[in-house]
Symmetry: D3
């Protein structure tokens, strides 16, 4: 709950080393006297702006930067011609959630569950990446869906699991996970990030967007009986719910069938969580082209 | 329930006009003396084979034909050099269900429902085509799913609706629709087609495939309470269930929101079938790129 | 799925041995010169009719035959006075389902379940016969019920179990049984028989009757949660549902109580399938005449 | 709750008029000097016995009486040859519940419900009589069922309805009916009668029988959701449950179909209490003899 | 079912020893010649009244008596100045249910359940006494609740458990408990007591009060699924339901947490009856005063 | 989402007017030269401490203050003898949530619902105050419950309703209320306050306490079907659930009965939200003292 204090631009002082996130302003690709390319760009937050310079930068990096992007910057503050400027060692374009390295580390190690689908280290990331890919492929078929909203919702829907589950040694639930659950934890994490973004930009996080994202997180289980306190009530929320189940259930079915080594019967044992047995079939090759 | 009698190859006689389905055997693209291309091919069913000729045929059509394809053939039987041959006016490659023109006509006119999603003439076809496209895009992400099986299941899952619903003037349910329902009707239609295919080829329809297709039809509602007598128990059946709901629900949500002309409230009226109100939002443009 | 090819009347030829089903037309009981009685009757199918003769036949058999009955006939085709006729060795009046000996053999061997009621070889037959008897006794009390329809429904409601269950050695479910279930299998079997009848008589099977029978099969579990895709919607369907449960549950209760040899407690162990314990009572003789 | 005080035999005195229930002891059919037949019999209760005489009685009545029967007696107590005797005007054999004329009057006037099945004056009686007849016919098929117990249970299962419902003018629920319900009222009425029988005979009412009857009353709705606080746990209780539903539902289905005068559609309107529409069919005569 | 015969006042005779319940009429505190105090009071039942005298009685007892109270009296009937009077050894003020010593003995020994809350000898009494205290404290906050009615309801709601459970050696259910249940048994016990009160006072038990009490007993489980045949429909009935659950569930939670000696995890094992695990927490002292 | 910037003690400067919250440190009651009492006390936050003085203060106020209390202070910063001090106009002891005047204003105006219980301006406050009083009275009966935790939980359980509902003119739901719901909103509000407290005190908010409070908010509806994503899993959470329902339901029952002016029937109309009718009774005075 205690994030290290942010270094606002107005507080920077000569000589300090910096590892902080800012917004990109104007940018230029220049050559120095030796003809080496470097990037000159303006960095901003709500307290002001500062010039920054990245030596020996390539054109690709330059082109990938756009005004308004969040960038993770590492470098040193220096007084130059009477003004502070930032000499960068490193510059990385990021989404807002990626600002938080601890989160990233957890997100890429957490399983998606302790028993059901994607129950392995990295399972959550695999689940989310697959869903992002699936959403990306389906979105052209549903032009009325808000693309950015759905992709953000997919990315966020299970983030609470990094705190709901413990996965250092044995997989299990944390106390917070059992008492509060990943839906409510996820909303809390989203709110914190929205505060950070608002803090950084000096503008309130778009309220309508925040509501729709919170809604997608709390409703993505789809019904009360599966622990959602709200039913999906937007097109993107209902799409998220089915995409999530599609990915999770196909993964579970395939895994249960593949891991069953019993060749006497063509059925898996009764699965308590699925409330059914699965059909492994006999000889599988059964192509047929009508 | 009475389909017109099939003309088997062994029963053909000189001079008769024919509009029938056969299997493609060997094929050749030839030129006649004037240099015009024509297709020479063998047609088969379980009773025998016959040579056929289609004058003035293009290379494209030739290339699209493969041994084992079902083709709808129209033409005349003629005695030629002591043997019967078929002079074709028309040749069309089809899938097995497309053999039945009456079905095709209904399938392309039926709605997918009388109130809920895709409740308009042609709605069923739109629903199925969209699902086929969606499945096609998602299948590479789920390599363990049997592609042909899933696509066939998508195509078949709602075929029973062409008899469950009446859509000549007012949309409604047929007696058969109410008493038996499109799941069981669909299985019946599948069985009839399987019989026809078996009749034509002289080989039994693959039993494992038939079972899996029947299962996908009866289980695609996903749970007992929604009228499926069986829960999905194969990976393809569970995928079908979620793809179906994804398409149907997104369609319904978008339609209900768009058709609501009330601008006083940002919510649709309570929907009995969805058991919720939907969020129309205020001013919609809310793009955001993290 | 492949039934041996039927011998239609128009295809019969002199000298062939026959074991086939036909419809009864006109009939006469005659005496030959020695004064022995024989039956002279016309047999029909949709392709034509043929005269038949059964020597040494009794009056009882003669009276039991009515125009339109299905009869299993065994005998030889002979040319007699310029026309083919059938000399019968055997003549048996049957219902349509009894045409199929393989079915009959299975139907009389199948259990009604693998764990619950009538779970023994022949259990299905016992269950159905008992229900037929029960329906027969109750029908006079409910004169608005269609007698023939209810009796047919009782006979048909569980026929799918001959394919849903395997009972050669150990009782179990077949793949088809688990994937499709005896309700849908039963409708398929009914449809096949309706086709056969229609084939034989040359007239379509009465559509309204077929719908009502299909409906009784699919709805006889009475509610969605017990796997019926349709609720009973005709008087005969609701009567069938309760008759079925009455017979099955009384059988189960009595069996569970009788098979419990534990005399320490007056209660059976908790039954998972019944979700209750049963009261065995203490000293049973407790007659009382108010 | 206040039943008029019973006249015990030991309290009878010369000259009093009597309308009371006693048990039959020894009986004789005699002729007086004019040759007219009269019945001489001993009447008993737990306080003693008294001789009684019914002039001009027929042989049929005599034969119908058995030792231990309950009889409703009307007549006058007289001193005769130094002892009290009873000169009867009327003698009627009854079951224990028939002792209570007020009950009988209500029982034969009450409907079985205010909206659903048998919702008319006398409907409850018709329902019970039909069920008694149905049970009588089915019992030979289920020889392990205790005949007397099932018949008593059928008779008693709905007796609480004579107090649950009000049916003097408009049909409705009484306060007691809504607050307590006919299941609990029925048990209370059974208990009162059991007390009366015990009072009369001087012996405790058989405890096991009483428990089983109470159980049948409280469990006859078959499940918690339909308001039974206990599930049926004896063979007779489960049989009662299905017999009750069979009779009630067939009655409701037939009535709803017959009362629907709308000839435009072959379906009744949606019934809230049945949660379905019913199929009226088209042209009903559809006899078929397989 | 057989309670020993009550001694009505009109039947008392000189010299008999008495242990019976009567109603208090007029009372006086007097001093005899030696100046010792004694109580002179009138005792009544529906058959008449009798003077009674308790020697050496204190002022406290005198003041505790009010006209209309039920008192348990022990003493001897004596002829005094031409009339019968009662010389008392003992006089105890009671409530109606306390008249029955056998009940009292059971009520103070019964557990409230065999597994769940208050499952120990005396548990039922503890549960009821705690609920009485809770109701007493809450009633001032809900002035529209009928105080007497709620307290009576609390006292009565579980009385059926003294017969539902057996607790002489091992805890278990009686046959009556399983077949009928403590809700219906409780109503039966209430009815018996109401009869006794009515018998004693000669006036009918207030009908409205009886209905409301019966209703509170049958509805106190709050919903059909937990075995109440009626939902709570009065303010006192709904209050009783929640008070009962509050006491029972808090008791269960605290007990399950305290009895769990496993210190490895901060969670109890999964409880089948609660369908959840409980949080034991880590180090408990966590006071906080906002 | 944007709270005005807090004035930390280290940032205060001479002459500024202040309306801020601090923690109480040491305190003294002193008299000035005129003998008038004033309070001298130390105020603290995580950045430092400052002396403050409240002239003309009474002994009562002095005694009500304790070290560690949160106090709302209004006054002016002045340089006095080389150090800043605070001359107070007003000093008010508060709980942490009361720091936020906007919240307080809403909390005291919000209804508890738009249709059900306490649906009037100020209804939420009345509901919470009544529950606090109820909890206070019951806590001595349940000594194992953590008093502070339960009272805090009661106070917090519905705070989300100040944002879930709109109550300026017509009562209704806000978009946030429908999309996210008062459970999740409530957790968000709790989290914000916890951050503020932590910010003020410089110490992390106790994690275990925060979890238990979050859990009480999300679980207080008691079951999934009523929209709680978690079941109550601590003694205080289950107690809160029943206290909440007790208060809400008794309020609803009494209101529905009192507001029903129909004197023809003793029952209210069917209530959709309660799924029952309520018993108004006939003539209510029905006291009875057993």
């Amino acid at each position: 709950m205690t994030t290290p204090k942010r270094r606002f631009i107005e507080d920077l002082s000569d000589g300090e080393n910096l590892d902080e996130v800012y917004l990109v302003g104007e940018k230029q690709l220049r050559a120095n006297r030796q003809g080496n390319l470097y990037i000159q760009l303006q960095l901003r937050d709500r307290t002001g702006s500062i010039d920054a310079r990245l030596w020996n930068a390539g054109e690709n990096l330059f082109r990938s930067l756009h005004e308004g992007d969040f960038v993770q910057t590492r470098g040193k503050v220096q007084l130059f011609q009477g003004a502070l400027q930032l000499v960068l060692n490193n510059l990385e374009r990021i989404g807002c959630f990626l600002m938080d390295e601890a989160f990233l580390r957890n997100f890429s190690r957490a399983p998606a569950g302790i028993r059901n689908h994607h129950a392995f280290v990295g399972g959550l990331l695999e689940h989310v990446v697959n869903m992002l890919e699936a959403a990306d492929r389906l979105l052209p078929l549903y032009p009325k869906l808000d693309r950015d909203l759905l992709l953000l919702g997919v990315f966020l829907h299970d983030i609470g699991k990094v705190r709901e589950l413990s996965y250092d040694r044995v997989f299990g639930y944390t106390d917070e996970g059992q008492l509060v659950g990943h839906l409510v934890i996820g909303v809390e994490m989203l709110n914190e990030k929205a505060h950070q973004v608002s803090d950084l930009t000096g503008e309130p996080f778009p309220r309508d967007l925040l509501l729709r994202l919170q809604h997608m997180i709390v409703s993505h289980h789809g019904s009360y009986e599966f622990g959602s306190p709200k039913l999906p009530m937007t097109p993107e929320a209902i799409a998220l719910h089915y995409l999530d189940n599609l990915d999770a259930k196909v993964h579970t079915f395939v895994r249960d069938i593949e891991e069953d080594r019993n060749s006497v019967t063509s059925w898996t044992p009764f699965s308590q969580s699925l409330q059914r047995r699965l059909f492994k079939g006999n000889q599988l090759p059964m192509t047929y082209d009508p």
